[in-house]
């Protein structure tokens, strides 16, 4: 099966129903997306499929065949940060950081559709991502900063 991740297409020999998360982590060694719950409850595994945020634990390899998968590694890197990552660093959002790949991927997809989000829209969009460390106040602030950066860019 051919899967395209961060612009690179690879042949993977996996069961159709293997969740994308485990194709990424264990077959392609892309470790940015995290395993948190496996049942679409926490958002730690969030990636973009054709630009939209999805829970990679709950979408199968077969379902992403021929589509574009982007992980946190694909939106920016320490040397070339995405605006959302910049904002996350400025606000020092992370504590343990384990949820933050997913938070950033949810935020990036959300902001691409809502460049000037209201507080309610932010709350609504980000409530599917759990943070056990409780970084929610900083996530809200960082999203506003990121939105401003993306509007300026």
């Amino acid at each position: 099966m051919r899967i395209t991740v961060n612009g690179v297409t690879t042949n993977v020999d996996v069961e159709d129903e293997m969740p994308l998360l485990w194709v990424l982590r264990d077959e392609l060694k892309v470790k940015g997306p995290k395993y948190g719950c496996g049942i679409a409850q926490c958002g730690a595994c969030t990636v973009h499929v054709d630009g939209l945020a999805v829970r990679s634990c709950s979408i199968t390899a077969k379902q992403v065949e021929g589509r574009d998968v982007t992980t946190i590694e694909g939106i920016g890197s320490p040397d070339a940060l995405h605006a959302v990552q910049e904002a996350w660093i400025e606000h020092q959002v992370a504590q343990c950081g384990y949820c933050q790949s997913g938070q950033i991927m949810s935020a990036a997809s959300f902001l691409s559709m809502h460049p000037s989000p209201s507080d309610d829209q932010i709350d609504h969009a980000m409530s599917a991502n759990l943070c056990r460390c409780g970084t929610y106040p900083r996530i809200r602030e960082a999203i506003k900063t990121a939105a401003a950066k993306m509007r300026e860019a």
Binding site: E15, K34, C42, T71, I72, A94, C96, L130, P137
Partner: protein, 745 residues
């Protein structure tokens, strides 16, 4: 000012040794004769050296032995060394170091002493020294109990100062310039003409001279890093998905393991049928482990699937199978037979209450830890060496637990501590490392990564203690006159201690923590604890005893204050007999505009709890909406003596409030048929972003001693919320989780 002489009396010597191409500074301990065996640190003639700073021509490495669970401990430790050593962030690497007795936690033991942390009497200080010596004796290098900052604050700055002065001495020898004319800046010794000799080029010389021990720590007014906003060392990797957690490790040829152990914790496995699992794709081996089965496969998901495809015949739980029976056992423990201690008996409560008793009963359930990164470990066992890569708070205990399984000598067990995706107390336990050792031992030579599925992690999370409180009290003349609180709980310390082969002398302080040490001079004040015989196994959960006791103790006081017709804030301040605590209450009153009118359907509650030596007060504002209670705002004032990093402090306090509120709102673990009924986050959710209030934080610095902030924000959150709900609705909630009684938006 502190100099090394004072520290040396606690057998804490900073020395130096030559290392390849340079010098290392650190803790150098030699056995010193001492009459009191508790105070002897090492066996006869034994000497150890463990570095905090290594400098070679290749660069500077700081060793940060406190584990990073997500709390920023690595950055904090590095900043303390860098402060005195005149390093900037970016000029050094960090390493977690190896497990070693020399890194014993000087602060952990002090918390075990049965004295109010506000008590600085000779007796209290002596007992703290004794308990600290016990942890030293055990070489208890540990991270927990909000102790990383108190443990590190002085000794790491000293390590930095000794290194700095020794490097200056080396520079003086080389240049002939007097040490007093030398300064340091940016990892270099600066000569009077501005020439900079880098530490790297001085390292080899510094290794040849005796370290300078007569150093003085800088005055706080000179601090460049401590107390200033810092960028955490891990913030960029954590914001770009590039930080490697234990679960992310990958090695050539690595295999993937999943386990299923009897969900009736401690129950046996009578038998299993793996015939389907054996035929599944990618499955390489199916192995028995204690009370369960492990599947080794070539992908985590395949291992998860196969272990689920096995059918199991589980034995009974060694504790009551049904939750109702757990509660019955707690209810039945308020008797003299189970009395663990009377912690406080001021005045005469029985006489003061005499027939006019105000009474209430409170409950706190089992709650799971469930950090977002599930537990696991990577292991490789060979006949003469064992390597384990895992994030753990008690590395030396991990070695002992493994040694008991594989028979390796502790010195051949190499633990590589990893960045952790949270802990909250979960990574003080050993289930993952024991199972990894059993698997690795049966597959010597292979490198294997064990990952717990979320469901397996929930099933084997040793939850927070189940607890109840019964309060009696009396009021008169608008004041609280008598306060009598009895707490009955299982001892998570005993449960946890038994698994680590530790026993603790005397009554269990965590049964009383957060309740007996209220700084209130109620004329008649009694606090007793009753130890419930072990039910389901339990463990330390962020803020431990205070997580349930804070709710009981403060809410019951709030009930009495309302019964007296007094103002909740004014009466707490009036009763407060501890200056630093009173200032905390006054600060939160001022921050929250206490006393101003909030309007219709709204209410405000205050709670104060002291835990881990930190007095902390929270005011919560709620609105009673058509769809349930909305938490609008939280104000927090806490005194930690010195705020080392204001940003991390702020983030931690907010996180602690979210943790405390979320679990109080909607989390519990209940047992049915001997198994936890909650298997994943849909059933044990905590707070989500849309429920998160605005949180305003203020750190006060009136206290003498520096304290950690990881746990203290948790205990006041639940009572402040319950008190606010009462103010808004008139409904008094006496049981967590609150959503059994009221709805939240």
């Amino acid at each position: 000012m502190v100099n090394v002489g004072k520290i040396a009396r606690r057998s804490f010597l900073v020395g130096s040794v030559a290392v390849a191409g340079g010098v290392a500074f650190g803790y150098y301990a030699v056995q010193k004769p001492h009459k009191n065996p508790l105070l002897a640190s090492l066996a006869d003639g034994e000497a150890t050296f463990n570095p905090w700073v290594k400098i070679s021509s290749k660069g500077i490495t700081l060793i940060t032995p406190h584990a990073d669970l997500g709390q920023g401990a690595y950055s904090m430790q590095a900043a303390l060394i860098a402060e005195e050593l005149d390093l900037e962030f970016g000029q050094f690497d960090i390493e977690p170091g190896v497990p070693a007795a020399a890194y014993y936690n000087t602060a952990l033991g002090a918390e075990l002493a049965p004295f109010r942390s506000t008590d600085e009497s000779f007796q209290a200080e002596t007992m703290r020294t004794v308990f600290s010596s016990v942890t030293k004796l055990m070489g208890a290098q540990g991270t927990g109990g909000s102790s990383s900052v108190p443990d590190s604050f002085e000794k790491l700055r000293i390590a930095g100062a000794v290194a700095r002065e020794t490097l200056k001495k080396a520079a003086s020898k080389r240049t002939g310039i007097d040490v007093s004319d030398l300064t340091t800046r940016q990892a270099a010794v600066v000569l009077p003409d501005g020439t900079m000799l880098t530490y790297a080029e001085l390292a080899a010389d510094a290794a040849k001279i005796k370290p300078v021990k007569n150093v003085e720590l800088r005055d706080p007014s000179e601090w460049r890093l401590v107390g200033k906003e810092m960028q955490r060392l891990d913030i960029i990797p954590k914001s770009t998905g590039t930080l490697t957690y234990g679960i992310d490790l990958d090695f050539e040829g690595m295999l993937y393991a999943a386990v299923k152990v009897n969900p009736r914790q401690g129950g046996e496995l009578n038998g299993y049928d793996a015939s389907t699992a054996e035929t599944m794709r990618g499955v390489q081996k199916i192995l028995p482990v204690t009370n369960g089965v492990a599947v080794i496969a070539n992908n985590t998901w395949r291992a998860f699937k196969a272990v689920d495809a096995i059918t199991y015949d589980w034995g009974d739980a060694p504790y009551p199978a049904e939750q109702a029976d757990h509660w019955k056992a707690v209810e039945a423990s308020f008797t003299d037979d189970f009395l663990d201690n009377e912690w406080r008996a001021d005045g005469d409560v029985d006489a003061a209450i005499d027939g006019n008793s105000i009474e209430a009963e409170y409950r706190a359930p089992y709650v799971a830890h469930q950090p977002l990164e599930p537990i696991g470990a990577v292991i490789k066992v060979t006949d003469d060496r064992l390597d384990i890569w895992v994030g753990h708070q008690m590395p030396r205990f991990v070695q002992q637990q493994i040694a008991a399984i594989t028979g390796h000598d502790v010195k051949d067990i190499h633990l590589h501590n990893q960045y952790m995706g949270g802990s909250f107390g979960h990574r003080l336990e050993f289930e993952n490392v024991k199972l990894a050792a059993e698997i690795g031992n049966q597959m010597r030579g292979e490198i294997i990564k064990l990952t717990f599925s979320r469901e397996e992690d929930f099933a084997h999370d040793f939850p927070r203690q189940i607890a109840m409180a019964r309060g009696r009290g009396a009021v008169s003349g608008g004041q609280v006159e008598a306060y009598d609180l009895g707490v009955a709980a299982v001892s998570s310390s005993d449960s946890q201690g038994a698994r680590a082969n530790l026993s603790r002398p005397g009554p269990d302080g965590q049964l009383a923590a957060g309740a007996w040490n209220l700084p209130y001079a109620v004329p008649n004040f009694r606090m007793r604890t009753y130890k419930v015989p072990e039910l389901a196994p339990t463990s330390s959960w962020r803020s431990v005893g205070a997580s349930s006791n804070g709710f009981f103790a403060d809410c019951f006081l709030d009930e009495l204050i309302h019964a007296a017709g007094a103002d909740p804030m004014a009466e707490r301040i009036r009763l407060c007999d501890h200056d630093v605590s009173r200032k905390v209450l006054e600060a939160v009153a001022e921050m929250s505009g206490w006393g101003t009118d909030l309007g219709e359907n709204r209410g405000r509650g205050v709670a104060f709890v002291e835990s881990f030596g930190v007095p902390i007060a929270e005011v919560i504002e709620v609105t009673n909406t058509e769809n349930g209670i909305r938490i609008d705002k939280v104000f927090v004032a806490a005194d930690v003596g010195t705020v080392v990093d204001p940003i991390n402090f702020d983030n931690h306090v907010k996180g602690g409030v979210v943790w405390g509120l979320g679990h109080a709102m909607n989390c519990e673990i209940t047992y049915a048929d001997g198994m936890a009924e909650q298997s994943n986050f849909h059933a044990h959710e905590g707070m989500r972003l849309h429920q998160c209030p605005e949180i305003v934080v203020r750190g006060l610095e009136n206290a003498e001693k520096v304290r950690g902030i990881g746990e203290p924000p948790v205990p006041p959150a639940a009572p402040a919320l319950a008190n606010a709900i009462f103010a808004a609705t008139g409904q008094r909630i006496r049981e967590m989780p609150f959503n059994k009684h009221i709805q939240f938006v």
